[in-house]
């Protein structure tokens, strides 16, 4: 059984922060109908038609990221600048459980499809808007994308090494995570509707979602008046809460090839000490966690002197054999093509895209014993499901479909 088979979503999302939310619902069987503008060929979503590409072909249908984020969705085109287009959208909203979007805050209102308007079309509609700063407050009109959300929320600041600028995240962590919060918003609102019959508007602000992810730092300030902006902080490869040492990312005998390891307690350290040959004898400060934590600079030098003369693979197998948490800093090839754990999980399924052919995509990191996810179909091409949605769902005749096409409505 598909977990969400009776659910229909009228989906305006794009990029990753939005499209990444409804993809998971589609993977669990929801009918996600993604609406795109025929005039600019859906280019509001900048990923459409952009790299990476499977081969030498280029074009609006061939963007690899777009395919990844829009698997299993239906793609329709609709020109909302026209009255006819707006009327068709009204018909579609009447038949949808959820309207989802991640435009800049206020765009849906300007289109005439804010929550109050949607509610008139369907009383129990669930409307989920996902924006950087939310639908109220002084920064409501401000524009964001992942790295901006991360910057303003404290996440970028929390990632880095002392005496260096922030390392940030190296990618849009908050586009993925904002998508997860959007997905949670939709599901929670559906559960509420199922028990009360009531729809609602959920105003999700990605910066706030991000700011919940640094909670102990905020409390350390609000309770102890200790700010994270202070000398020597942050060093996010170390771990203060709880204290662990050594705890970090260490060089191996190959260029730019690294291993992470963590000693959770004195027993882990005793085990690790057995692997490290220290001719000078071990500093007695290292016997306790307080001592190791206070002397991390020298401790890390000692650990590095051992890791530097070993290969990444050897280090990983030695550390695993004595039950110390460790992992190579895996590059994409290592974790996608050479990691038995992700392969065993089925984490990189292949989908069929009408024009791209067979392409591997991100799978889901959960397995449900009775209603698991499935990813088989790639992202829709522009208007690929127009006939199905407008014909079968809205009951338009083939003549009407032809007229709408010739009028540039779809």
């Amino acid at each position: 059984m598909e977990a969400l088979k009776n659910l229909r979503i009228c989906d305006f999302t794009g990029q990753l922060a939005g499209a990444g939310a409804t993809r998971h619902l589609a993977a669990f069987g929801a009918e996600v109908i993604r609406i795109e503008d025929p005039v600019n060929e859906g280019r509001w979503d900048i990923l459409r038609g952009n790299a990476p590409f499977v081969d030498d072909r280029r074009g609006i249908e061939l963007g690899g990221a777009f395919n990844n984020h829009n698997v299993e969705k239906k793609a329709i085109t609709l020109n909302l600048r026209t009255d006819e287009g707006k009327e068709i959208l009204r018909r579609l909203v009447e038949k949808s459980d959820v309207v989802s979007e991640n435009f800049s805050s206020g765009v849906m209102d300007r289109l005439g499809f804010g929550y109050e308007a949607l509610k008139k079309l369907r009383q129990d509609i669930i409307y989920v808007s996902n924006s950087g700063f939310g639908a109220s407050g002084p920064y409501q009109p401000y524009k964001t994308w992942g790295p901006i959300v991360q910057a303003v929320s404290g996440l970028t600041f929390s990632s880095g090494l002392p005496d260096q600028p922030s390392a940030g995240w190296g990618y849009s962590f908050m586009d993925h995570t904002g998508g997860y919060y959007m997905c949670i918003s939709i599901l929670a609102a559906l559960i509420y509707r199922s028990s009360t019959g009531n729809g609602q508007w959920v105003d999700l602000a990605c910066t706030e979602a991000a700011a919940t992810l640094t909670g102990p730092s905020i409390l350390d300030w609000s309770v102890n008046k200790r700010p994270t902006r202070r000398d020597g902080e942050p060093n996010s490869n170390r771990n203060a809460w709880p204290k662990m040492a050594p705890h970090g990312i260490f060089p191996t005998n190959n260029i730019d090839t690294w291993i992470s390891l963590a000693c959770r307690n004195d027993d882990d350290w005793t085990q690790l000490r057995g692997l490290i040959d220290d001719p000078a004898g071990f500093d007695s400060n290292y016997d306790t966690i307080e001592g190791r934590y206070a002397h991390q600079d020298s401790l890390e030098e000692l650990v590095s002197s051992w890791t530097l003369v070993n290969s990444q693979n050897d280090l990983a197998s030695q550390l695993t054999s004595i039950n110390i948490p460790n992992a190579p800093v895996r590059n994409p090839q290592q974790r996608i093509d050479q990691d038995e754990n992700t392969a065993d999980w089925g984490l990189w399924p292949t989908v069929e895209h009408t024009q791209m052919g067979s392409v591997r995509v991100d799978g889901l990191p959960v397995h449900l014993s009775e209603t698991d996810w499935q990813l088989e179909r790639g992202a829709g091409c522009l208007g690929e499901h127009n006939d199905e949605v407008y014909g079968e769902l809205l009951g338009f005749s083939s003549t009407k479909l032809k007229d709408l096409k010739s009028q540039g409505v779809i």
Binding site: P52, S136, P147, Q164, W221, I249, A327, P328
Partner: protein, 432 residues
């Protein structure tokens, strides 16, 4: 608390949480959405009650700010789950809840005699979510892991760090490997609650933290999956297949700005020129005429034509736009630049530290900083608030995190035990 307070969209959903450090974030999110989340702790308390930082830096199981944050709004019962009576109580609690959330090492629930088949036998509607580093059955399922090793082994650290690759890759801070696994646990649980209506029973959810971070690395994954290209880390910006230009600039007050993308279209060059004029910086900026030239251009500059050398004038205009942006940042405070740029339509961000977020006017205006009262301490503290406004069913519960075993008696009474039963368990040290 006002009796009429709205609880949240998950009002009526009951969750039993038996976690260590990986999945309490999932329980916190469920509690924030209005579920009744009951955390089962050992008699002497969860070991995470001993995680720093502490109130006034005084280690104490009721003073861990780490525990506070991850357990806001939950209830706590203290139970010796290893005793036979304790197991019976656990099973009786299971018969009364919708969801079990746990993050025990694979095999541990079976050793306790509390694995999914035995739990489903007392409650077929139960949704059992198990969050582990590598999943239940995979080849590394019993290997030890912590947040750092998950983020290193699953991709995020590969993409994070500095242009100088002699510096190590960086683990993003704040426990995000555990958080990402927890986010997926919540998605799985809510999906199973919806499916239960038609399915007529609950199910088992296997949540794999290593897999969760693996599919949360954006271009690092799909560049390899689609085109076998490898991204490389760069200071404060997206790891890329090809290098990109720096985006972080230090402002006049020493704080940093993520500058976003510089001007690319005519009106933006005009706005940049005008801003330089307003700030009295035109004299310091000899390239200003290039901005005026840019203002006469139609549409967007074609970055492809700029990098291929086909549009040398465009290249000069683009470079002038970037230089003007850097000059403005260096001349203004970070906050002045952030708000000034955004008000002019330029996407950019101030790099705030966590505590600066909850002091910012926007987040205060939205009610994001949440004041939580701790009656025993007779003090209130600011917590990060709720990131989504469910306008039809807001979460208004402000219960502080639970004291150890604070709700043991209350929950057992609700589950059908009598005060006499409870006294006996207490005398046998099965409850705390």
């Amino acid at each position: 608390m006002n009796d009429a307070a709205s609880v949240g969209p998950l009002e009526g959903i009951k969750v039993l949480e038996y976690t260590g450090e990986i999945a309490p974030w999932a329980g916190k999110i469920l509690a924030e959405l209005g579920a009744d989340v009951i955390r089962v702790e050992p008699i002497d308390g969860s070991h995470t009650r001993w995680y720093e930082p502490f109130l006034a830096d005084t280690p104490h199981p009721e003073k861990s700010l780490f525990f506070w944050h991850y357990n806001l709004r939950k209830r706590s019962i203290a139970l010796d789950i290893n005793s036979e009576s304790g197991k019976k109580i656990f099973l009786k609690l299971i018969s009364d809840v919708d969801v079990l959330l746990e993050d025990q090492t694979p095999g541990h629930m079976l050793e306790l005699g509390l694995d999914y088949p035995q739990l489903a036998a007392v409650n077929s509607d139960l949704i059992h979510a198990a969050v582990t580093p590598f999943g239940q059955n995979g080849p590394r399922s019993k290997d030890p892991a912590v947040d750092l090793t998950i983020l290193a082994g699953a991709g995020p650290a590969w993409s994070c760090g500095y242009d100088d690759h002699k510096l190590p890759p960086v683990r993003g801070g704040g426990g995000q490997g555990y958080h990402t696994a927890s986010h997926w646990a919540v998605i799985g649980i809510l999906t199973a609650i919806i499916a239960r209506k038609e399915l007529g029973k609950g199910q088992y959810i296997d949540v794999n933290a290593h897999a969760a971070s693996n599919v949360s690395t954006e271009a690092a994954s799909y560049s390899w999956l689609v085109a076998e290209q490898t991204v490389q880390r760069q200071t404060g910006r997206h790891a890329g297949v090809r290098p990109s230009s720096p985006t972080q600039v230090k402002a006049a007050d020493g704080r940093w700005i993520n500058s976003g993308v510089p001007a690319r279209q005519g009106k933006d060059f005009q706005k940049t020129y005008d801003w330089l004029a307003e700030a009295g910086l035109l004299e310091e900026f000899p390239e200003a005429p290039l901005l005026q030239l840019g203002a006469t251009r139609d549409g967007f500059l074609n970055l492809g034509a700029i990098s291929s050398g086909e549009d040398p004038e465009g290249a000069e205009i683009f470079a002038a736009g970037r230089a003007a942006m850097v000059l403005l940042i260096k001349s203004l405070s970070a906050y002045e630049y952030f708000t000034g740029a955004q008000q002019r339509g330029f996407q950019c961000g101030i790099i705030y530290s966590p505590e600066e977020v909850v002091q910012d006017v926007h987040f205060i205006d939205r009610g994001f900083p949440l004041e939580i009262h701790h009656p025993e301490l007779n003090q209130s503290f600011i917590y990060p608030g709720v990131p989504y406004k469910f306008l039809g069913s807001p979460c208004e519960i402000k219960r502080r995190p639970p004291l150890l075993g604070e709700h043991t008696v209350e929950v057992l009474l609700e589950t059908g035990y009598t005060p006499e039963n409870i006294e006996v368990f207490q005398s046998e040290n099965i409850l705390g």
